[in-house]
């Protein structure tokens, strides 16, 4: 090749054939998938200069050297560092750099074809869009997408400008706002690629196109170009895309996530002007997002930390990898049946045991129902269903548990019942077997005493419905061994769920934190806040369901039981759920125990639909002056974050990622915050604890941070800094 030494290229191979066609093969070393690293950007820049200058080069084909894909997108571990460090101008410069590189590619004067031999996402697809011709492998795994919105960013290397110019705003916006990839056939239909080809013929197809002598010009650089379907206020689709579209974004984001709006704005503003101006607009919106905490929070918690948790970063080292081949599940209720279901789908033999055969069978029937629904939706096959159901054996006989690697009990939250089943199971289990309790409230260390080998006893707290909820809270009792923890985490990974690891404490982490949310809502009611305002403010904060509604779902009666159990166990006051106990007692006394009882904070008319009980105002008189929803949002978020901070202080939480992931995946804490501890960092550690003290003055001592937490605030100690 001309003036470029192949030796100085680290991430691409550059070959020039006899026809004058340059083949650029992207192969980032040390990465299972190509991602846009600084090295790759530098190499592409060098290659583009060379192509533009090389008189002998007739055209270019870009492909990937990885068998599993083209380019998977940006390097999030790099992008996540921008927040708090980069200025808006620096963030803009970063975005503009890659964007102008792609712009140079499409205006280099030589025809450029992308031979897309696998998935191309984010910056990867954006590179393809800056090519003049795109041929995509017809392999169904070769999907195309712009998923940046999911990490709080926008498709910043021309994605918001080229895709609408290529396929129209009405088609492009949903792809960028939803972030979901499209399969090859759909990509062809939408016009995202020019052709599909079998993998083996991709390069040939690209070469043929170049040999045809195409004009090296993008449609948007042709004079008189118009965005397909029109752009701006008066486009026929404007009402749908930008008016209704924006309202829908407000609904789905509760106005807490800035990225979707920035995407809509970049598209709206950028498609009315020449592409160079549009790219500039896009980079500015990208910069705004990159330095916003929400992008950092989403990248750090939902991708980097979630991936780490999925790869069992919290697994104690030095324990051999294990797999559960045979699982026992005690109790075939909602939770037990759910656990059996996901385990069977993961290929594990399951013994589902209950007190009566009928109850055990009912648990399996639930699994059959779920799978039948999947079949209806075309998501599974009868074969797969038969295999999975064949793995579940229903019984009342403890003897069947013989040979289990792990037994999970999911019986009533009653110590005596749990003690009895644990002992019966222990009697037939081998010395190697682990025993786990799916309790959500009873301390693990105490329950472990029922099992002869306490170091092999652990808590695995699943969430309902098990088949949909991604989290498992793994609870270490005082005597749980490293090996037990490691093997339990292996089991969670087998189920393809995300584990967090917490230490034993009343309510562990998730239930304890969630209790503060529910109690805060009921405390507001007692203060005279309008019920609708309470519910709306919680949803505006990003909680999926209002506290009164969720209380009705799990029953108000349950809140009373938790309180009474705490008293019976002699737990300290802070674990007694006292914040709203008067509200709980009053409702139970009125016979309004929740949805199960037909009446709670809501009324449930026979014809369906529910509405807040009209009589609430009489029981809890409404104050004439109502607070701002913003104040209530803050209370909902802060009380949960503060409780998480206490969990760190008490060593219930050892790693901040466990609190962040647990709060988002387990109890619906909003992801824009990055989780309960990231929220504190987002607000500012000092500002947070100072604000808590202010809230304590107005709303009660539950908001009072401990001296240690106040000290943490003053010293501005970040949770993640500490963890690192």
């Amino acid at each position: 090749m001309n003036d470029m030494s192949a030796a100085c290229l680290k991430t691409i191979r550059f070959e020039l054939d006899a026809d004058g066609i340059a083949l650029i093969t992207i192969d980032v070393p040390g990465r299972p998938m190509n991602v846009l690293t600084p090295d790759l950007e530098a190499d592409l820049a060098a290659a583009i200069s060379c192509i533009a200058a090389g008189a002998s080069i007739k055209g270019v084909v870009i492909t990937s050297g990885k068998a599993n894909g083209f380019i998977a997108g940006a390097d999030l571990k790099d992008l996540v560092t921008a927040y708090g460090r980069d200025t808006a101008q620096q963030a803009y410069a970063r975005s503009e750099k890659l964007s102008s590189l792609y712009r140079r590619l499409e205006s280099c004067g030589k025809p450029v074809a992308a031979a897309i031999n696998g998935l191309a996402l984010g910056g990867g697809l954006e590179l393809c869009l800056a090519c003049h011709f795109r041929v995509l492998s017809d392999d169904p795994r070769a999907v195309l997408g712009l998923p940046e919105v999911k990490v709080g960013l926008l498709p910043g290397a021309g994605g918001t400008q080229r895709l609408p110019r290529l396929i129209g705003i009405a088609n492009a916006l949903p792809l960028m706002l939803g972030g979901e990839p499209v399969a090859p056939q759909q990509a062809l239909k939408l016009g995202m690629v020019h052709a599909l080809a079998p993998p083996a013929q991709l390069l040939d197809s690209a070469r043929q196109w170049i040999l045809g002598g195409p004009k090296p010009e993008q449609p948007w650089d042709v004079k008189g170009f118009r965005v397909p379907g029109g752009a701006g206020c008066l486009a026929p689709h404007a009402t749908e895309s930008f008016q209704a579209g924006t309202s829908r974004l407000a609904r789905s984001t509760q106005r807490n996530y800035p990225a979707p709006l920035a995407i809509a704005s970049a598209v709206f503003e950028g498609t009315l002007v020449p592409i160079d101006v549009g790219l500039r607009i896009e980079s500015k919106y990208f910069a705004k997002l990159l330095i916003d905490p929400v992008a950092r929070n989403l990248m750090r918690t939902m991708f980097i930390n979630k991936n780490a948790a999925d790869k069992l970063v919290r697994r104690p080292p030095g324990v051999a990898r294990s797999a559960v081949r045979k699982l026992g599940v005690l109790g075939a209720g909602m939770m037990g049946a759910g656990i059996a279901h996901v385990a069977a789908l993961a290929g594990i033999e399951v013994v589902l045991l209950d007190a009566t055969q009928e109850q055990a069978d009912k648990g399996k029937a639930r699994s059959a129902d779920l799978l039948a629904r999947e079949l209806q939706k075309g998501r599974t096959t009868q074969d797969r269903i038969d295999t999975a159901l064949g793995r579940i054996v229903c019984t009342t006989d403890y003897g069947q548990l013989t040979g289990c690697d792990l037994v999970v009990e999911a019986v009533f939250e009653n110590r005596d019942v749990k003690h009895a089943v644990t002992q019966k199971a222990a009697a037939v289990l081998g010395p190697h077997a682990l025993f786990a309790s799916n309790t959500s409230t009873l301390p693990i260390t105490g329950l472990a005493a029922s099992f002869p080998r306490e170091e092999q006893f652990i808590g695995v707290h699943f969430f309902s419905p098990v088949e949909r909820m991604p989290l498992v809270e793994v609870i270490r009792g005082a005597k749980t061994s490293d090996a037990t923890l490691a093997r339990t985490l292996d089991f969670v990974a087998q189920l393809r769920k995300t584990p967090i690891v917490v230490n034993d404490s009343p309510g562990f982490f998730t239930s304890r934190v969630f209790g503060t949310f529910v109690d805060e809502g009921m405390a507001m009611l007692a203060e005279g806040v309008e019920p609708a305002l309470i519910e709306n403010a919680a949803r505006m904060a990003g909680m999926p369901v209002g506290p009164l509604a969720i209380c009705d779902e799990v029953t108000i009666e349950l809140q009373l039981k938790v309180h009474q159990q705490a008293l019976a166990d002699g737990l300290p006051e802070r674990f007694q759920r006292l914040t709203a106990i008067e509200v709980v007692k009053k409702m139970v006394e009125l016979g309004r125990i929740g949805r199960r009882g037909g009446a709670g904070f809501y009324e449930y008319p026979a014809g369906g639909g529910k509405r807040l009980w009209a009589g609430l105002g009489e029981v809890f008189p409404v104050r004439p002056l109502q607070p701002d929803a913003e104040q209530l949002k803050r209370r909902f978020l802060f009380i949960q974050a503060l409780e998480s901070a206490r969990c760190v202080e008490e060593n219930v939480i050892a790693d901040p990622m466990d609190a962040d992931l647990g709060s988002i995946l387990g109890i619906g804490f909003p992801s824009w915050t990055g989780g309960t501890l990231s929220l504190i960092e987002t607000v500012g550690v000092d500002a947070f604890f100072s604000d808590c003290r202010r809230l304590a003055r107005h709303h009660g001592a539950r908001f009072l941070p401990s001296p240690a937490l106040i000290q943490r605030g003053k010293a501005n100690v970040l949770y993640y800094q500490e963890a690192a």
Binding site: C233, T239, S247, A250, S265
Partner: protein, 402 residues
């Protein structure tokens, strides 16, 4: 008190704002021209005395674009010295045009102005002009945009007006409009619209449905329920008004203002103008005001605007004999009446836009004329006219007979 006097006013009948409406074949410039022509003709006005023509027009694009006021003055053969300007205060434009005329006269910067408005909604439909407030995502977001109908439903929800309440209001609007036509209340101001052959194509309001009853209205589907759900508007409304549990969709095509075509013109001048033109003033413009209100709910401006104006004119609500509160939606007027505790029999006594229609740019001038005629018919003194406007605004004017 201003020195601006009302000498005359005219309006066209309001044609259904659809392809089968009688005025659909008439261009908006023709509607405006015929209104200006009538003002001149009725008073044998020497148009050289007119200092300006100000017309409200809410969709000033296409054939309503390019300053329709100046072009209508030219087209109506006004003296070439008469300039023109189009203004846009959304639904209050026609009234704002009169207020601006009054301001010019009162400031002694004009002796006479023809003010009014025009809107051919059948030919230049709503939303023809685009606009950042609806479709620029950042602006839509910032102002919590929700469509007016959802705003009206939100008002009804907040105030507890049920479907029957708003429908009953609409039935009364229809009854009054029909009665007013039968009594000849509108005869004095109506200018039949003619075609190019000089034939009358419409001489009476076309939109009203005399005899409409509660049972008829009950059959109509709520107009904004589906969009509120599908497009996320209800959710945005709740985020903006979180004290509301859920939006009750009560407004329908039957209890909201009608989409119509029409134009109106009002001759405003000072005393000296009247002497010079040989005209007797019919009323004085006592004061006027416009106001901004919360833009998401959009339609709550008439109350604060009226309060602002009463304060400015040092009057109280009891000083007003008759009210015209534009019937954009039933709940808008109902909230106004409830707030000031005024009985329906002093408000929109000739029916309102629910029955007669709401030609956006013209309505303000039309209802000002209607209430002036009614003051004279009943031999009463004072009236207040107010309209809510998009993006959270309202305009109000108080007139008194001389």
């Amino acid at each position: 008190m201003t020195q601006a006097l009302i000498y005359d006013h005219v309006r066209t009948p309001r044609g259904k704002g659809r392809a089968d409406g009688k005025l659909h074949e008439i261009t908006p410039i023709q509607l405006a021209t015929q209104a200006l022509d009538a003002v001149r003709g009725r008073s044998s006005l020497d148009t050289a005395l007119v200092d300006d023509v100000i017309l409200g027009c809410v969709m000033p694009v296409g054939e309503q674009g390019c300053n329709i006021a100046r072009v209508a003055a030219l087209n109506a053969d006004y003296a070439v010295t008469v300039p023109g300007q189009q203004l846009n205060r959304f639904c209050a434009s026609g009234l704002e045009a009169v207020n601006l005329a009054a301001a010019l006269v009162d400031a002694k910067q004009a002796q006479a102005v023809v003010a009014g408005g025009v809107e051919s909604m059948s030919r230049v439909p709503i939303a023809s002009d685009g606009g950042a407030c609806y479709t620029d995502p950042a602006v839509n977001w910032k102002t919590w945009y929700i469509p007016q109908g959802i705003g009206a439903d939100l008002i009804a929800t907040q105030d507890g007006y049920g479907r029957e309440d708003v429908d009953a209001f609409a039935v009364e609007s229809q009854r009054r409009a029909a009665w007013s036509w039968a009594q000849g209340c509108f005869d004095r101001s109506i200018v039949p619209v003619k075609d190019v052959l000089g034939q009358v194509v419409l001489a009476r309001d076309e939109h009203l449905r005399p005899g409409t009853g509660l049972a008829d209205l009950a059959k109509l589907k709520p107009a904004f329920a589906e969009a509120g759900d599908r497009n996320g508007y209800d959710a945005v409304a709740l985020y903006r008004y979180p004290r509301v549990e859920s939006i009750q969709h009560v407004h329908t095509g039957g209890n909201s203002s009608g989409i119509v075509d029409g134009a109106a013109a009002v001759l405003v001048g000072n005393k000296a103008f009247g002497r010079r033109a040989g005209l007797k003033p019919r009323a004085r413009i006592r004061g006027f005001a416009s106001i901004g209100s919360e833009p998401a709910i959009m339609l709550t401006g008439p109350v604060p605007c009226t309060e602002k104006l009463l304060k400015r004119t040092r009057m109280s609500i009891e000083d007003i004999d008759l009210f015209e509160v534009n019937e954009a939606f039933a709940a808008v007027v109902m909230r106004f009446m409830r707030h000031f505790d005024i009985p329906h029999d002093r408000v929109n006594v000739n029916g309102g836009a629910i029955a007669l229609g709401h030609p956006l740019g013209a309505t303000g001038a039309m209802i000002l004329g209607t209430v002036l005629d009614e003051l004279e018919r009943r031999d009463l003194g004072t009236a207040l006219i107010t309209l809510c406007a998009a993006a959270g605004m309202a305009t109000a004017t108080i007139i008194e007979r001389i």
